[in-house]
């Protein structure tokens, strides 16, 4: 059986093409049904950055054609139009690819966490559609394990990858957490929007929006469940706020050091964190000299993000080692599959011999009591099991060392088992 992956990602396809190749749950289920006809295993991973179809079959060429046909039907593009954007990877390389994807190593931002949930969702969808078999089952479960290990054993996902998350994480270095904190937003632009959304996702309590245009402030406040005030009411709000996000288009400082100093007196030592993402800046840099005031402008935040992404890349080296370790384990498991049919046949053969011999001795065993009969049954079963234990272990060891097929053939030949591999290697059990 061969593992086949056909797909595309942000590295190969622009967003316009990725949009055409995105599966919704209904389309995915239908595609899984079509791809699995003929006994193939199939799973579809579809995110905003990638669409990948995984399949397991004895006829990889046929399956690849089938996946191309599916993607062509989905996007409305011809085979030749799609071909430059698609990649095909098989067997161990396909497994390593999925492991890297689950680890976040193939993501735009190394270590991003969302992808692991998306891999899990792809696996669940395939299970629900009953298109997973032993190989995809093992592959996806192991991919999920790789993702977890990488996140637990490395720091790849710990540091922020965007200005808004960097701002939120820095604020969390001042306050124990942001739950219940008061946020003052100066300006109601797009950048404030992203930062506010990030802070809200961390549970901030109250949002106050101050903007030159009261209508815009109102609309913005409504969207985030906050309240709007005029820019002239900023000073009293400053005395109550914990985090200030400034992003107005004002040409001068909106907050002077003197204003902040006055507010700090009312705060009785409570700290305040300023995120100034406006250009030109809104908050007087002299504020940093005031006790309990922390100020980060856009350059500071971008530097934090750059350092953090560099740190993620360093951690990626450790994550690759985990991927490689798990890939070895997957390969060993795949190789062990080579000897499974031979082992099954050998055991079936031994069991049938045992039964035949017991039937032949039926007349001589007729005088035995039921308990004596059970003892004979158990005894013969134990002899068979003990005889077969060592060959079974040795064959599995040989399989892990890539000699499995040789040993399996030798066992079939020596015990006259015949070529029953095809029967035992049914794709889905």
């Amino acid at each position: 059986m061969r593992l086949v992956l056909v797909g595309t990602s942000y590295q190969r396809a622009p967003v316009e093409l990725r949009e055409l190749l995105a599966y919704d749950p209904v389309l995915r289920r239908a595609a899984l049904g079509r791809l699995s006809t003929g006994g193939a295993e199939a799973a579809v991973l579809s995110t905003c950055n990638r669409t990948e179809v995984y399949g397991v079959t004895a006829e990889p060429g046929e399956l690849e054609e089938g996946i191309y046909g599916e993607l062509s039907g989905l996007s409305g593009l011809s085979h030749s139009e799609l071909a430059p954007a698609l990649y095909t990877v098989t067997d161990e390389a396909a497994a390593v690819h999925l492991f890297r994807v689950a680890a976040g190593l193939d993501s735009m931002v190394p270590g991003e966490a969302q992808i692991l949930g998306q891999v899990r969702e792809a696996y669940e969808a395939a299970r629900e559609a009953d298109t997973t078999g032993p190989t995809l089952h093992r592959l996806f479960r192991q991919a999920l394990r790789v993702g977890k290990r990488v996140r637990n054993e490395t720091a790849i996902g710990e540091n922020p990858a965007s200005v808004s998350s960097a701002a939120a994480q820095l604020a969390e270095r001042v306050f124990a957490d942001l739950e219940g904190r008061r946020i003052l937003l100066l300006g109601a632009g797009k950048t404030a929007d992203l930062t506010a959304a990030n802070l809200i996702s961390r549970g901030v309590g109250e949002i106050v929006v101050a903007n030159r245009s009261p209508e815009r402030a109102e609309a913005f406040a409504r969207r985030f469940g906050g309240r709007a005030v005029g820019l002239d009411a900023v000073e009293p709000e400053l005395a109550r706020a914990d985090v200030v996000v400034a992003s107005t288009s004002s040409q001068g400082f909106v907050l002077s050091a003197a204003q902040v100093e006055r507010a700090m007196k009312e705060r009785r030592g409570r700290p305040i964190f300023f995120i100034d993402i406006a250009v030109p800046r809104d908050v007087d840099p002299a504020v940093i000299g005031l006790e309990g005031c922390y100020l980060y402008d856009i350059d500071d935040l971008e530097r934090v993000v750059a350092e953090s992404v560099a740190g993620r890349r360093e951690e990626a080296v450790r994550a690759e080692a985990i991927v490689s370790e798990e890939a070895d384990a997957f390969r060993a498991w795949q190789l062990s599959l080579d000897v499974v049919p031979a082992i099954s046949s050998l055991r079936a053969r031994a069991e049938s011999i045992r039964r035949e011999e017991l039937e032949r001795a039926e007349s001589r065993l007729a005088s035995l009591s039921p308990s004596q009969r059970r003892a004979v049954e158990a005894l013969t079963s134990q002899i068979v099991a003990k005889l077969l234990h060592q060959p079974t272990v040795r064959m599995k060891e040989a399989a892990a060392a890539a000699d499995g097929v040789l040993y399996a053939d030798a066992v079939r030949h020596l015990f006259g088992l015949g070529d029953d591999a095809d029967q035992a290697r049914k794709p889905r059990q």
């Binding site: 960097a166 270095r173 001042v174 124990a176 957490d177 009785r268 030592g269 006790e291 350092e307 740190g311």
Partner: protein
């Protein structure tokens, strides 16, 4: 006893030293060495616990009445307090302060003979257990408060200066450090009050002389009492209370390490 003590002393010292080095290494490559550091703390503390148990078993009374022996007990308390919650991920950086201090003080206790056969003390066991135990417990609390305050000042400076890699090292938030410093002082101060009160009462009864150590201990009490009042009544927070906690700790060091061996025992 001496041989058995040495058998337990060296693993304790080695564990603490290994932890101190691993914590320092962890600041360079975060996440890699911290596991070794935690095991160093655990194994070192277990060895020291066994050492103290051995001392207690062979002693003919309160075994940590001498300055050096009490230093041994003091180190055990400090590391014990750190072990309870300091090993948790956000507080691991405290190990940078606590573990080197533990190594130095334990080595000092050994040099001064505090890890071998316990010396007999002229004072009663109950008095020593309460007086020494409470004061050492309080000093361990102040040591922890100082470590938290130092971490606060370091973290605050990095945030203020927008230092490179400001998010690289895991550390608790400023607010958490500030609150924990205050709580440590709030718990340790009553212990110091009772421990010192017992000592003063005995001095009074026996007509003993008022020495420099008693004066400095009272000054230490005043500094930490001021900490509590200023924090809860005047609203002092952050940098100011951190400096106050460190000032109090300087007095603790002066009392515990510099003056006690020469004046009080």
């Amino acid at each position: 006893m001496t041989e058995a003590a040495l058998l337990l002393f060296w693993p304790a010292l080695a564990g603490y030293a290994e932890a101190a080095v691993a914590y320092a290494g962890d600041t360079v490559r975060p996440g890699r060495l911290v596991r070794y550091a935690i095991w160093g703390v655990r194994l070192g503390w277990l060895a020291q616990t066994a050492l103290l148990v051995a001392q207690a078993a062979s002693a003919d009374g309160f075994p940590w009445g001498s300055w050096a022996a009490s230093l041994n007990l003091f180190v055990w308390m400090c590391v014990g307090v750190y072990l309870i919650w300091g090993c948790r991920a956000p507080f691991r950086l405290l190990g940078l302060v606590v573990m080197p201090l533990a190594v130095v003080l334990l080595a000092l206790a050994w040099i001064a003979g505090g890890v071998g056969e316990p010396a007999r003390s002229e004072f009663g066991n109950a008095f020593l257990a309460f007086h020494v135990g409470l004061i050492l417990g309080a000093f361990a609390g102040f040591t922890l408060a100082a470590a938290l305050a130092a971490l606060y000042l370091w973290q605050e400076r990095r945030l203020k200066r927008r230092a490179p890699g400001v998010l690289r090292l895991r550390s608790p938030s400023l607010q958490t450090l500030d609150q924990l410093t205050a709580r440590s002082v709030a718990v340790a101060l009553p212990a110091l009050t009772i421990g010192a009160g017992i000592g003063l009462a005995r001095m009074e009864r026996e007509g003993a002389a008022f020495d420099a150590i008693v004066g400095l201990t009272l000054l230490t009490w005043v500094v930490y009492a001021a900490f509590v009042v200023l924090r809860w009544e005047a609203g002092w927070r952050g940098r100011r209370t951190a400096y106050l906690a460190l000032a109090g700790f300087l007095l603790v060091v002066l009392v515990r390490v510099v003056l006690t061996p020469f004046v009080h025992f």
